[in-house]
Symmetry: C2
Amino acid sequence: MGYTYLPVEQVRAYCEQIFVRHGFSAEESRGIVDVVLTADLYGIESHGVQRMIRYHDSLVKELVHTDAKPRVLFETKLSAVLDGNRTMGQVTARAAMELAIAKCREHGFGAVTVRNCNHYGIAGYYARMAAEEDFLGFSSTNTEAIAIPTFGRQPMLGTSPLALCMPADPYFFWYDVATTVVPRGKLEIYNKRGDALKDGWAADEYGNSCTDAGRVLDNINAKRPGGIFPIGGGSVDTGSHKGYGLGIIAELFTGIFAGGHTSPHVENGGMGDTSFGFMALDYGMFGDKKEIRGRMSELLEELRASEKAEGRSRIYTHGEKEMESMAEKQKTGIPVNEKTLEELRMIGAYVGISFGGMEMQRG
Amino acid sequence: MGYTYLPVEQVRAYCEQIFVRHGFSAEESRGIVDVVLTADLYGIESHGVQRMIRYHDSLVKELVHTDAKPRVLFETKLSAVLDGNRTMGQVTARAAMELAIAKCREHGFGAVTVRNCNHYGIAGYYARMAAEEDFLGFSSTNTEAIAIPTFGRQPMLGTSPLALCMPADPYFFWYDVATTVVPRGKLEIYNKRGDALKDGWAADEYGNSCTDAGRVLDNINAKRPGGIFPIGGGSVDTGSHKGYGLGIIAELFTGIFAGGHTSPHVENGGMGDTSFGFMALDYGMFGDKKEIRGRMSELLEELRASEKAEGRSRIYTHGEKEMESMAEKQKTGIPVNEKTLEELRMIGAYVGISFGGMEMQRG
């Protein structure tokens, strides 16, 4: 697939205008697009501007409520529960994490959950918001059920990510993982290529490991049994039960603590049904922050500097590849595939703004 | 290996007497033995009375300080950091979790870390202490390094468990997992049997997956490169990087937040060098506790009731097997292997108490 490179600030301004035309304030639009572009800058194309068409469609169909505001349902010194009122996920998620951070700043810890909302993009964005304030950040969202429990065959849990971000130098520890062994997008890529899936990624309608991507995706689309295995794969020998439990933990901090739909009851791909959980913790509660941050930085450096496996030249720590990707894309621009480029033009035409000559020459 | 069944309350009294003879108070001894016996009752033999010999030896050698007390190094409303002063892990860990629970009771959240301590037994015991008070509980400990980072070959992280316990009915959600794909004990069992390890469990001295248990254990014992892979196994295809990150998270909540040794610097099998982390969170910060507990119970029941994989008759939720094991062992007694039985007699003889006719007839 051919890629065109778009300059970061131009694509940012263009996407912001799209949301402004859809009725969001300039500030809300900036917030939404920052989440979207961070994914592209970090090299997570699946959650970047290629999702603009999905956001656009749901705004056109009024599945996402532009004028609604989240409402505080319950609040304590350390916590709040919000009704997302089917608002744009990124707008309400940012507000929720900001509230958690404010509570953390005042009391040392803040936890905010949200129900009845929409996809919020990359979980790690919000965890990082807390780390930018020199706090430990946590974020999770549930999703429509696609993961099968150990010894099961029915999709019961989401790909629900767990994200945690801890300040460190030169890179934050930025952990953001789906609680399934692979995301659904990976099955789709293998299916397009006609490649067999790896054993332990996905289950057929009987709950057995299945390498036929087409069959697995057909079952998922038809809402038949079968789905993706949790982290740890399809056998307790490889730790399936450990990933299955992480999926339950993600559900606890989202659907359960938000009083929203749990993954088995999330419908319409999560439109309006999604729950989030956010936490910020001032790690100064454990002593001098410079010392603690220094110890974390040292551990991460020791990991990177430790002996490499045969044939490997680097050991990464979580968030390092993303920082390198961002530095590179600030220079080259954001790579956008042909289909997405066409969608971006089409969305602009729909809302009445010009795409212009945004394409970069490859350096 | 032959097993003898010992009545729970008799073995409890016997083990408590051993610790009393070693200089602990009756209350401390009760606390230590409750942690040890909970492992046996839950079916986690590796952490049960078979470890009595290890505890006894370290007390005889004065590696564990009987008279020392933990000291508060730093404290806030929500938190504390303790110096474990090389005390018995279970005594100080219980005190630390009790302090976290007291802070949680007053403020809604409590976090306590401990450095310079000794093995504390099963991580889940302490998470459960918070759940018994109707709070969400979390516990972790670091260990001597045995896990290799993704693309590495040098042991850098521990088997460091992550434990979380959330109140639910009829069973708590009780999650307690090593952040390695398998524990070291599993390699030892396979080695004794002469069985090949599963692919993706352990690495040879070059960092490649290795199924030769003897070779892996020899390398570990000789402190050569090689070790156990994190959850997710030996390849990013199976999610190795996800488990590697969980190992770092366990380290963050223990060695880093406690200001203790991190796993690469834990020596002597962790004697006096181990760090712990405990958190208690009053989930009433998210609304009515009965409703939240009810929602969690419902999700767990939905998981257990969901369609089973071909050839499977049950789906478990975490903590369910342990409750069934406990109910059974309250009747049958605790199964103790021949070697452990001999060690228990020997320890009693050393400290001057009688083992007596404790063995049960098998029901």
